[in-house]
Amino acid sequence: MIFFDQFNTQIVVNLTYILASMLFILGLKMLGSPETARKGNLVSSSGMLLAVLVTLLDQSIIDFTWIIVGVCIGSLIGFIAATKVKMTGVPEMVALFNGFGGIASLLVGSAEYLSGFDQNAALLIAIYLTVLIGGVTFSGSLIAWGKLSETISGKPYLYNGQQIVNSLLLGVLLLAGLEMIFFQGMFTENQFQILFIICLLAFTLGALLVIPIGGADMPVVIALLNSFSGLAACAAGFVILNNVLIVAGALVGASGLILTNIMCKAMNRSLANVLFSGFGAVTTIGSEAKVSQGEVRPINTADAYLILEAAASVLIVPGYGMAVAQAQHSVRELGELLEANGAEVKYAIHPVAGRMPGHMNVLLAEANVSYDVLVVPEDVNPIMETVDVCMVIGANDVVNPDAKENESSPIYGMPIIETDRAKIVFVLKRSMASGFAGIQNPLFFKSNTRMLFGDAKESVSSLVAEFKS
């Protein structure tokens, strides 16, 4: 730079990093309310732009060719992915992006390690953590992406001695870390070897951690991987001694942890239980012993229409099934017709409905449902008796009364949307198969429940047609 000597440039760079950190913080704060959220995202992205631009002033950058190549390819892929993805595909894309953040941090750590400049123990610890967390994030996210996009089975996959294998792996990783940091050349010949081994171990660990986890627990996993991608960036910040990486990484790490905690609470399970118990696989065995709980009362759309037409308040409870059937637009149309008919329509959304935190909210927003009619279980449960019709669309475990009534049920204690207390419950469902958790749902057998069998989208569309005719 012509106008600055080196000292001044450094000050400008550092002050800009502080500004960028402030913009990140401000942006996250504005994400806290729907009115300001979009602006908040813009603020946060301008922070990122500033941080990147000012980094390019750094004296150590002597050649821009490769930077341009990387930025162009990355921007193109990012742009295409973000504009082309369907809203139902957002969970797997976020999972994939988490992974990319992780691998980027891993590569930064590796580049620094192999550049071979003066490396003290503190730096080596930071490099080790960056590679470890980045690697786990990357492979874990790839598996999560595979499960969410159903490239690989979403079923929990359990094998005997899983805990032992994981502990062994952790032990070896720890040894490799010790060698990397304190005893270079003890087991391996050079830096490449030890780095390669640590990467490989970290990838294996990430994959083994996510593979046993079932599809319904994915909200927890994505939130956790989100946290990890932040922590990897944070560790990379200690590698290159850069404060903006540390601030931004810690913010993301904290946000991911909070979301993880919220998701766990919503399922009344501990994080360890989600990660290591393979929920679905265990409970299917338990539920087989159960006897049938009575008679199911089916209903057809014509009768359902008559009941809906007379209803003064309707509560819609969407679940993953709505996303699979792509029924959100038909649901919104039905909601509008019901409102025009004089009914009060609300949507009750359970925190773990769908495959990522807030999944249902995004789908309904896409379908133009106003966000002020989306409510949480705590708001609707106390007034459930006053609800005339409750429509459960593709949700199952989050409305299972066993969580309240049956102490032997594996989901006992989980906060649910207590639809069974509404005057009439319609359950839109393909068949009588049990939900992701593999548990029977007594709601289907209650005397106030009517089953509307069939594809959710078709059922809702034919209800819409009834209203219009």
């Binding site: 729907p34 946060s44 973000a82 192999l114 909070i258 106003s370």
Partner: protein
């Protein structure tokens, strides 16, 4: 070196607390955009990637190679993350009073 490290730790701890404070107030409606927005922020590792990628191919071929791969991945994360978040948030609307 030691003072710098201590200072960075100080920054780390404060940021974590700040993060907890900020995020615990976000309503569940916005959890997905929050996550993808936070995800985009974690692409800040791009800063480190740029430094590695620009360190000169002739003297540091390996660093440049790894750095450029890192730049690519981090840019996907940043650009894709912010764009998809913006796309999602643009859909969150309140019904206009007619």
């Amino acid at each position: 070196m030691e003072t710098q490290l201590t200072l960075l730790f100080f920054v780390l701890v404060l940021s974590i607390f700040l993060g907890f404070e900020l995020i615990s107030k976000v309503p569940s409606t916005l959890h997905t955009p929050l996550m993808s927005g936070a995800n985009a922020i974690s692409g800040i590792t791009l800063v480190g990637a740029l430094l590695a990628s620009g360190s000169g191919y002739v003297s540091q071929p390996l660093t440049v190679l790894l750095g450029t791969a890192a730049v690519t991945f981090a840019t996907i994360n940043v650009v894709g993350g912010y764009l998809v978040t913006n796309r999602m948030l643009s859909m969150f609307k309140k019904k206009e009073t007619e």
